[in-house]
Symmetry: C2
Subunit: 331 residues, 2 copies
Amino acid sequence: MTKQIVLKSRPFGIPTADNFETRIVEIPAVAEGEVRLTTKIVSVDPYLRGRMSDAKSYIEPFKMGEPIVSGLVARVTESKADNLNVGDYVMDRLPWQEEMVLTASGLQKVDEKLVPLSYYLGILGMPGLTAYFGLLDIGKPQKGETVVVSGAAGAVGLVVGQIAKIKGCRVIGIAGDDAKNDYLMKELNFDAVINYKTVENMNAAITSACPSGVDVYFDNVGGEISDAVVVQINKGARIIICGQISLYNATRLPVGPRIQPILLKRSALMQGFIVSDYADRFPEGFKALVNWVVSGQLKYTQTIYHGFDQLPEAFIALFEGKNLGKLIVEV
Amino acid sequence: MTKQIVLKSRPFGIPTADNFETRIVEIPAVAEGEVRLTTKIVSVDPYLRGRMSDAKSYIEPFKMGEPIVSGLVARVTESKADNLNVGDYVMDRLPWQEEMVLTASGLQKVDEKLVPLSYYLGILGMPGLTAYFGLLDIGKPQKGETVVVSGAAGAVGLVVGQIAKIKGCRVIGIAGDDAKNDYLMKELNFDAVINYKTVENMNAAITSACPSGVDVYFDNVGGEISDAVVVQINKGARIIICGQISLYNATRLPVGPRIQPILLKRSALMQGFIVSDYADRFPEGFKALVNWVVSGQLKYTQTIYHGFDQLPEAFIALFEGKNLGKLIVEV
């Protein structure tokens, strides 16, 4: 018997605890080729909000009454498979369940001696790879250019800003909390930061922080924050649409200024992507990120909730902007 | 003494005849290295509307009291330059003026025996090159893909649709006139057409015309027509922002559905451009277009106004959708 957390109802607007339900389920015995896993660390991510709705997207919606699935590090506690031993750790997209029995063949083993295990869900996992490919492949930042990142203190934003610094850019972070912005300035050497919640005039703040305009905008949030950045892009600018967290809980079609005339006048590019578009290049990204982490060029921070039962609360906290860096739950 | 047409006042909304003024000006004698030109054909283009406003754009606004400048073919009537003889024709961006004296060195000579002279302002000029680079370089249409073009019967749209057919795509044209749409279907072999003015449900019309969704959208018009196309793009779609004629006369900031969430969910690209971004590749584009025209693979049509004084009226007609193909004025 083990606990799992399932989708009880589809959120309307901001998710609440009522949208989730904890259930006790049986788990089968371990058969040949299978392993038993105990969940150690679970990733909660903004994109999961999309899967909780029943709308067409890049990935199937979660089914009602079935467990939420996200990135997860688990320990092998029983093995009838050649490729995994008891005590090994694996990382994969797996259900929110304390224990589970799975076929071993597809599971990705991770090295707990190289970096802390949680890094495989963050800077060396989906968020790190998202930052790496989005910024470098779409944004193509050049030395001396100005890079603006929204959601700058989030799991992806922190990495984007630091890679942009490594590439010799002027980096401006937008976040909604002075403590987060202090961290970006003092620990990560951002060139300027804007607190979108307290700033009086967002357009004036962007102008002041970006005296040479904006060459690359890595957009994690969308909405009015992005409206203020987009009007200040330079000729040939690149806008990377990575997330739109300000719109994920919208209950009707969001409306805003039309951006096509700006893209036209500035010969600018706007490109959406999901990290799996780059699946065949993950080894390249992973290698680069590991090197930067090990050499100390990339710093990493995370916000940790404790206990399996905290998963829904941790997820909801994402939309309140409570996390600095990657939000994870240690079970 | 010669006639010129100057900007008398900046248009508010749709331009009117009052925004223009005809003046009589002196022209100097021809000095060493100069030629005297007589204007033969003048191009009127939607993008000129942007230059009539006093807003930041990719190109300087026209100055009040100075002549409008656009693509123009002129005949050399007197020459004190080595590179041009009387009877030669040149094409360049030149002022709306019946006669003028200019330095010969920068002028581009065109061959009146290869194709009709007006082609140099259309299919072999800025509109043709715009279609060529926008569609092929940004849109990258692949055989079997679905390409939608708005403003399909305009100077650029006609060429876009035909090149997409040459590349083996399914091509859907959107225009606002049944006679234009008949031309697209019968003469240019488009696969489907939509009359946006008479169609009852634009979304349903797109669904019906694009059963496999939209892979490439070449957008000349913007606004609500484009809204209906963009919601039906496929994963990995490319949207080329070439023009936004529906918004050029907007008197306040246009608002519409936010498209970033769609670009995100479909990993889609939206790119604005202006043909001069490709200036160093014009010879490549010109050569390809000439070959298709001469071989008959690219057909060409135009709408012709007659008389220098008709220039303002011809320009205003662009925004009433009166032209099939390139709109020119023969002087």
